[in-house]
Each structure stands twice: as C-alpha cells, then as structure tokens.
C-alpha cells in the first residue's frame, strides 16, 4: 500500500485523525478499492467513527493486489506524527504513507520545507475489519447545518457534560443537557437551546422524537467539520437507534455513529410511540436482551477480502442497496424493545443504557453469525423476535 497526500490535504488528514482520537485509542487502517478507510471505536463500543478518503484525495493511491491488508495502530502514535496542526500546514509539503512489509511497519514520511524529511515507523497489529452497520438513508429525521451553527450550539454546554438530548419537532430543534437522576436534577444547571429550522440548510422531521447521545464524540466531529468548513448532516430515528453524523465532500466522507440512550424517562416531551406503548409481558431476561438486541450489527469479517470491502463500501456510499430490508428489521426490533424497557422501568433498572454498535471482539459471535456479515443482521433480528 502506498498513499501520497499533498498540500492542504495533509491538514485535512491530520484533523481527521485528531477527531478520531476523541473516539478511541486505536486507529483501524484499511486500504480499500474505493479509498483509504480510517476508523475508530470507543472502549464501550457505543461510538464509532469512520473517514473514507477517496483515491482522488491522494496524489497517488495504490493498494496491494490480491490480499487484503488491514491493521490497527495506537492512535496516540499516529497523532504524534501530525502533532502541531498549526505548523503542519506551513511546513509539510507532502506526506507518504507506506507499508513496509519487510519490517512490518507502517511508515509515515513527512516531506517538509527545506528538504527536511521526517520519518515515523509505526508498528501495527493485524486486525479484523471494523465496520458498524448503519443506514442513514432510512433515518426518518434528517438535518444538515453549517458547522458554525452546531459549534455555537455546543459551546453553551460545559466541557464536562457527557450527554446531550436533542429533541425535534416539525420546525424546531431543542438541545439540552442530559442529567441522570432526579437528585442530580435539583442541583445541576439545566441548559436548553432552541434552534429554528431555518438555521439549517436542510431540516426534515418525519417522526418528532428525542435522542440522547454523547457530546464528546460529537465535538470531535465538529472540530473536523469546522476546520474543513464542511456542513454536518445528522440522521436519527428514535431513542435507542444510533444517531449518525456525517460530513462529506467530493473526496472524503466522514461518518460518526453514536449510540443513543435507549430509554429516557426524564423527558416529558418524548413523543416516541414506542416509549409510551403499553407494556408487554417480557420475561426476566433483561440481561439477555442486553447481549443480543443491543447489538446493532456485527461484522467480524472472518470472511476474506472482497466480502469485507463490500458491506463497508455499500454502507458508506450506496444510498439504498440491500440494506433496506435489514434496516427495517432492525427498527422493529428496537421498538419492541422499547416497550420492554418501559415495563422494566417501573422497578427502575439502570436507566442509562447506550446500545453498543458492534462487538467484533467483545462478544464471541455465535457460529451462525460469524460466517456471513449479511446474514448476521437477519439472524440478529429474528433472534430478538424469538425472545420477546
């Protein structure tokens, strides 16, 4: 694999890596046919981010033929390659990323002014492909705004705040800080911000709803969006299913998938039908639910080469391919769960539950699942239906 990045794109790449570093400790690198994918996931697997840089982003882009290479690197060491974003733009003219197979090192070479050459040889680990399966095109609520609008919005919340709740109606979006329990509510300062729909470039609400997600990762994306001045799109359905934030231009696409709190009792404005549905009698397999149905998708990619590149490419670029039916399955699963959770809510289980996005390594996949990523999702849906 060999990639050459030149000029202003070096800074774009660096910013992307910095915002990925807000998510997790490891950077997953996967050169694909359709570009270089850089991904990261947080330790609890509730947040996932992926940047795909198209071949056109690079002045040269070549990937090894025949075999699929992918690896993970400690994100700290990649960050140190691109330390000091301010000077990077002025001094670095070209950046080579090369795989040194003899030494098993990924080599970053920065060609700076005055012929200065900085070479970083980073060790890596082989890894499975990391791919959250999400489909933003089926999301019923869709927004797009200039980064400044959102940066100004989150600026009202303290840096220590973990989660925000976003509520939407036909014409407005409310953003407020999420406070865990009642005792905290009486002490904590509550902040609420109301944005009118015409502050957005695009504002479509089909299901007025409210979702709660982590602010830190959202800020990570905003840092990138602001520096590259790309509008941010936001997609979500209902509490419990992920919110997808994305930036895109001709040569790159960034997607941040953040889990949302599955049930938010603190929200009186929650209009989600699922949340108010009459409780069905679920068995006491609350914990089992956690395992299976919280998992949005799993792509362990034991399967080789092309099949791994396939799903990621289609999720990222193709609007509606074979994903649609699965997504519907998924949605149904979640709304059923919603009812169960409400019921469970009466005797107060832990009310903070983010659904994890995928568990390639955390939960050992069942034999059925591990074979084919596509069947994964179908199995997943039918599994949880069996349970409820």
């Amino acid at each position: 694999m060999q990639c050459v990045v030149t000029g202003g794109n070096v800074k774009v790449l660096a910013k992307a890596i910095h915002s990925l570093s807000r998510i997790g400790d490891e950077l997953y690198v996967e050169p694909q046919e359709d570009g270089l994918a850089l991904r990261s996931v947080n330790s609890s697997r509730s947040a996932y981010a992926c940047f795909l840089f198209a071949p056109l982003f690079f002045s040269r882009y070549s990937i090894p033929d025949g075999r699929n290479f992918r690896c993970k690197i400690a994100i700290k060491s990649v960050q140190s390659v691109f330390r000091s974003l301010a000077t990077l733009e002025k001094t670095v003219e070209k950046c080579h990323i090369e795989l040194n197979e003899q030494k098993d090192r990924l080599t970053f070479t920065l060609h700076c002014k005055h012929g200065l050459l900085k070479t970083h040889n980073l060790s890596y680990q082989d890894s499975e492909s990391l791919q959250a399966v999400f489909d933003k095109d089926t999301c019923t609520n869709e927004f797009r705004a200039q980064p400044r609008v959102l940066v100004d919005t989150v600026a009202h919340f303290p840096p220590s705040l973990e989660e925000v709740t976003v509520t939407v109606s036909d014409e407005r979006m409310w953003v407020r800080n999420h406070v865990e329990d009642e005792t905290e509510r009486s002490k904590a300062m509550l902040t609420e911000l109301c944005l009118a729909s015409d502050e957005f470039d695009h504002f479509v609400v089909k299901t007025p709803n409210s979702v709660t997600f982590c602010l830190k990762e959202f800020r990570g994306l905003l840092v990138f969006a602001e520096s590259s001045n790309l509008p941010v799109s936001m997609y979500f359905d209902e509490p419990g299913s992920p919110v997808v934030l994305s930036v895109t231009d001709g040569v790159l696409e960034g997607n941040f998938v953040l889990a949302t709190l599955s049930d938010d009792p603190s929200l009186p404005k929650n209009k989600s039908k699922g949340a108010h549905a009459p409780p069905s009698p679920p068995p006491d397999d609350f914990m089992n639910d956690d395992m299976d149905s919280y998992l949005i998708a799993m792509d362990t990619s034991v399967a080789s080469g092309p099949s791994t590149a396939g799903p990621s490419a289609s999720t990222l670029t193709d609007p509606c391919t074979s994903k649609l039916p699965e997504a519907n399955h998924r949605t149904r699963t979640h709304s059923e769960e919603e009812e169960e959770e409400m019921e469970d809510g009466s005797d107060r289980p832990p009310n903070k539950k983010f659904r994890s996005l995928f568990f390639g390594s955390v939960f050992p996949p069942s034999p059925k699942i591990s074979t084919q990523p596509v069947t994964t999702q179908e199995v997943l849906a039918s599994d949880s239906e069996d349970e409820s």
Binding site: A188, E192, E199
Partner: protein
C-alpha cells in the same frame, strides 16, 4: 415572590458577567439578595469557609434595563436565594453576544434562576438559550445572617497597589509560609511579610495613599485620627485565602483598599469598581468575624 430583570446593553452584560465570575472564583456558594434597588452577593463569614466573608453590592439600575421584583411581603420586599455563582457565571459567559438577556425567578423542577438569552442568528428567528440555575430560597427567619456588615473603626485604611502586583508577590510568598502578615500605616506605607524559622521576607510598598474619612463618616473621632501616622497596624492572614481573592479578579477596580483593625486582628480588602456605584465586592479574610466599610464610603 417574583423577580424578572432584563439586560440589553452589551457592556452591562459584560460587566455583570465579570462581577459574577469574580465571585465564582471566591466561593462555591453564596447568597443573592434582591431588593427593589440593589442586588447583593453575600458570603457570610463562617468557620466552614475559613472565616472569609464577602459583600458585593450592585445597583440594579447600572445593569438592568428592566427590573421588576416582588418580595416575600410588602413589608419585607426582598428575595434571598442561595446559589452557586459558578453556574450563573457559566450561563452568562456563553451569551456575551446576546441581543437581550432575561433573568427570572422560576419554578421548574426546583426553584431556579432562569437566564434566558436571545442570540443573534443569520435566520429571521433568533436562537433562544435558557440556563436554569438551581437556587435555594432562604426563609425569612435566616435573613439576618446575610445583613450588610456594619462598619468598625479601622486603625488603618490604605489604598492598595495594583492587585496584579500584589498577586505576583503573594504567589511567591505562598510557597514559603501558610500565613502572611499585612502591615500598613497612615503614611501610605504597606508591607507584606512572611516570617518563618528559616526565612523572613518582606515586600515594601510606599506612597500608596490613605482614604480620607469625611468628618461625618463613622471614622470620625475613631482611632485613626489619634494614631501616629508611622505606626504600623498589622494583621495575619491565610495566604491561600488572600491568593484566592487575588486570582479571581476580573472587575478591574479603579481603587482597592485594605483596612486593618488591630483589636480583632482582621483585614478587609475592598474593591471599588470603575463604574461608580457599580460592583463593589469586598472580601474579608480573617480569623474572627469583623466588618469592613461599606464600599460606597470609600469611593
């Protein structure tokens, strides 16, 4: 009990924010007293907070374009709230460019001081942000704890050099000792002293000037008049408390003043805001409760 205020002027908002931020650096919680003419931020000296007390008086007319309030009763037309100034400061800091800011007393999930700002946007509809700062309403029977301190006859009152200068000195001295001696006389001289077994450090200031106490003022006939101008009055203060006071300075006082009263071994530091009758927080680090002159008498 009702309260509603509106700030439109950016300079007023900015000034109010700086006052609140300064207070938030001094204390985690304080009391906000509202009456038809003034707002007071009060910290009454208790053992729990190291005997530091604070009295900050703001004339509402200097800050608010609209100000309406209704106290607990017509006879006691006041409202007394306990709040975390940090919250209020944070709420105000993010809305510095607001078109208008309303401050209201509201009953939400708990009693709140709601700061509601209208922010400019590119679209036709303004963006509205509300911060609900939780407050505790203080019952009338406890109000006496938050009364304006009465004025003792100080032995010495002196204008301080720029607080930044003092801060630099105190920051260094802090590493040497936990206590610092402030001594001053009526001849415009002040010394900051550290004395330990190993080292003695003194920083000397001169030509600082002493505030004149008018004939009718409470100081008339007090110990100040009969004092030898060269004799020093001294007080020992906790360095960290003094430093905390110096660190949080955001009000840019035109004058600050230190008064000492030997008998109670106390010191009070008073700042007078550049805006006459504006913000006048004062801090009294000491070991025993004592009082400081009302800020306006020093102006």
């Amino acid at each position: 009990m009702k309260f509603r205020g509106k700030i439109v002027d950016v300079a007023c908002l900015n000034h109010f924010t700086r006052v609140v931020t300064t207070i938030s650096k001094l204390t985690k919680t304080c009391v906000l007293r509202l009456n038809p003419d003034n707002l007071f931020f009060v910290l009454s000296g208790k053992v729990a907070n190291g005997g530091v007390s604070m009295w900050c008086e703001l004339s509402q007319a200097n800050f608010f374009d609209e100000y309406q309030m209704e106290g607990v009763s017509p006879e006691n037309n006041e409202i007394c709230l306990e709040l975390a100034p940090e919250n209020l400061s944070r709420a105000l800091k993010t809305i510095q460019n607001a078109k208008s800011v309303k401050v209201k007393l509201t009953k939400k999930h708990c009693p709140c001081l709601t700061v509601c700002a209208e922010l400019p946007t590119l679209s036709s509809i303004s963006r509205v942000v509300t911060h609900d700062v939780p407050v505790d309403v203080i019952p009338k029977r406890l109000w006496h704890e938050f009364k304006e301190p009465s004025v003792p006859d100080y032995d010495v009152s002196i204008y301080l050099p720029p607080l930044k200068t003092i801060k630099n000195v105190v920051d260094r001295m802090k590493n040497l000792s936990n206590f610092l001696v402030i001594e001053a006389n009526m001849n415009g001289e002040m010394n900051l002293k550290i004395e330990t077994d190993l080292v003695s450090v003194t920083t000397y200031f001169k030509d600082l000037g002493n505030p004149p106490w008018g004939d009718g003022a409470s100081q008339d006939g007090g110990p100040t008049q009969s004092r030898d101008p060269d004799s020093m009055a001294e007080a020992r203060v906790d360095v960290r408390k003094l430093q905390q006071f110096l660190v949080g300075q955001q009000v840019n006082p035109s004058k600050s003043m230190c008064s000492e009263f030997i008998c109670t071994s106390s010191t009070s530091v008073t700042k007078v805001s550049p805006k006459a009758g504006g913000a006048c927080p004062s801090l009294h680090p000491r070991y025993r409760p004592s009082e400081c002159p009302p800020p306006d008498s020093a102006a």
